[in-house]
């Protein structure tokens, strides 16, 4: 192997010059602040989650704009390490797992998380039909203990916000939790807990009902 590459040695000089050139740009890159870096890296996310973070059901990408920073950060790390999104039936997760590995360093992950959480919240269009918010309200009582009565989420409980979220995504997540497609990995303790909680919803209809109630909580936040 080394013999064939002797030509490389000859051109080391050229390479070094080039590396110096690159280092120059790398330096300017490091000085850029986190937000700019996050925006830059979000270019890939925007391919599916769209420019304003509205998400697109066709691409299995939920709305993410304005999600809590700690939550985005934790999920990106989970995806990247394969704690989440590596179940063989989790079609969307199997796409997100490789995409998250595009973020090479933890700094990049937190830059993206900061950028996403700073995006203005959106109200994705409701697409799930057949849910009854009245029944859902009763079912939601259990959820409220962690996710909060307004669905605003609680960091202390490791519970993400549920409002301003794509309703189809809430349904599919609950279904995945129930089927053990999410929360199968014991290392992902929060998801394991959620997997247990999801079993309190007895059937498909109950899932739709509770999601229908959650979407009624989607009021624009007061400034």
């Amino acid at each position: 192997m080394t013999r064939q590459f002797s030509i490389i040695r000859v051109s080391r000089g050229v390479l070094l010059a080039c590396v110096a050139w690159v280092a120059l740009f790398a330096a300017s890159q490091a000085s850029a602040n986190d937000m700019a870096r996050g925006k830059q890296l979000y270019a890939l996310c925007a391919q599916c989650h769209t420019e304003n973070g509205m998400g697109a059901q066709l691409y299995l990408a939920p709305a993410i704009a304005g999600l809590d920073e700690w939550y985005v950060n934790a999920q990106l790390l989970n995806f990247r390490s394969g704690i989440r999104g590596t179940n063989w039936q989790d079609v969307g997760g199997l796409r997100m797992h490789p995409m998250s590995r595009w973020l090479k360093s933890d700094e990049d992950v937190s830059a993206v998380a900061a950028y996403v959480s700073a995006m203005p919240k959106v109200d994705p269009p409701a697409v799930v039909e057949g849910g009854d918010p009245v029944t859902g309200k009763a079912l939601y009582a259990t959820c409220a203990s962690c996710h909060g009565p307004e669905g605003q989420g609680m960091k202390t409980m490791n519970a993400p916000p549920l409002v301003h979220m794509s309703d189809w995504y809430l349904v599919s997540s609950l279904e995945k939790f129930k089927a053990g497609i999410r929360g199968w990995n014991p290392q992902n303790t929060n998801a394991v807990m959620m997997r247990g909680m999801s079993n309190l919803l007895p059937n498909e209809q109950a899932i739709k009902d509770v999601v229908a109630y959650i979407t009624t909580l989607n009021v624009q936040e007061q400034p």
Binding site: V22, F25, Q29, L44, Q47, Y59
Partner: protein
Amino acid sequence: MAELIPTQPDPGHEDDHHHGEQSFVSKYLLSTDHKVIAMQYMFTGMAMALIGGFMAYAFRMQLAFPGMDVPFFGIVTPANYVALVTNHGAIMIFWVAMPVLIAAFGNYLIPLMVGCDDMVFPKINRLSYQVFLVSAIVLLSSFFVEGGGFGGAWTTYPPLSAKAEYNLTPLGSSLFIGAVGIEFIAFLLGGINFITTAMNSRAPGMKLYDIPMVIWMIVIASILFMVSVGPLLAGAIMLIFDQQLHTAFYDPNRGGDPVLWQHLFWFFGHPEVYVVLLPAVGITAEIITVFSRKKLFAYRTVLNTAIGTGVLSFCVWAHHQFISGIDPRMANVFTLTTLLISIPIAEMMFVYIATLYGGAIRLTTPMLWALAFIFEFLIGGVTGIFLGASGADIYMHDTYFVLAHFHYTFFPIAIIGTYAGVTYWFPKMFGKMMSDRLGKLHFWGTIIPFNFIFIPLFFLGAGGQHRRIYDFQNFPALAGEGMQDLRILATVSLVVMLGFQVVFFYNFIISLMRGEKAGKNPWKANTLEWTAESPPPHGNWKVLPTVYRGPYEYSVPGREKDYWPQDEPN
């Protein structure tokens, strides 16, 4: 029927091509003059080449220095990366090689070399350029729609290309296919003129074997293109229907078959290689005969090998699909036909090398380009054997070896062939000589880095690295230290090579402004275009020429001059 055609006027009386002062628009944008249309094609092609080259720069920087903020581009995301490689390939083949080699040289040379005043259907000719321009605009616009440019490789295999949920570019993918389809229509329109002009409008006395080789090659290439492109056009309509109307021609879940597209694509895709190869081979034939002052060795053999290659090229398409799930028994047939195609191509190369024997070789800039074409294409040719052999292709398929191989064919064709042609016909096109010194600087500054780009890629391919992978750090066992060095070497060479193109544009402009005036025939060549003024006026000649002999009568014994123009009575 024949009586409806007006009798041919005596060329002597057909000289009043007087045009008054024309506005810029009607002279350069809406002209029906074949030379103006040729220039339109050439400059559009060059502009697209710059765009394609810039794309190559962006993704090669990403490969060499993963994750870097590429100067003048920004960060290359995986989505950018696939869109860049896809459009780089499509642009370089459909919007650079084809317009420059076939349309620009075809339009410029066919009327001049067969001795008539214009194309047969000047308005169709103008239309073909306008359609082509539309296709280029449609392609470039695909980058600015939602979702961005299409990123499913220039081969556009469905279901990836057919469904937005897979390719994530709901509009980009349709614009891409649409642009390619429109471009095909432009070249079908152009083909009407190439065929009819070369066949029907030849100067009196010009027999079939008196036609210069480059004209033959463009005609054969046009026929190959016309025959091969039809099924793909039908397939492209089906693919756009799949994308936008949600039909299921290529959807396996609803009764379609994705492999059908591969057959339609490669039935076109392989002949397409020869469509662009043949004009470049023709250009080379003109140049090496002039600058070695030799008759082309075995003119008819060259012609026959070109036709043989063309016919065989329709029987080899599935060698792109050896491992695509086609019936394995079919692979044996296609291995056979693929290796058979080495026979006419090898013979063509032998003919060119034999032509050099006994010549008086003048190493001018165009000659250097032509010689480089022969040598570099030889490398491209021999490395193709590895891929045509089905057994070896199991390993080599879709590796960098393939990539290096076809760049060793397409680069000589599209870039070296173009530079050879431009430097050779520049005096005719613009009436000025190009600087030979700058030309040679540009030549070496292009050829040496070119080899340093692609030879390392052969090693990468032999090491099992695949194409279209945007970051090799994900493959710990494959992305060894030495491999990354090779990628950096290739990228640095690319940047150097792109930098040297500035020399060409500088030379182009400076020669245009201050170049030495070229006479009618600065190279002392035989073919008819050199008997016209430089640059030829509208209508080309005052008196259209008559032909008395073949195009390659150089150094004929017993003659004082070592060339014998085709239109000289004796």
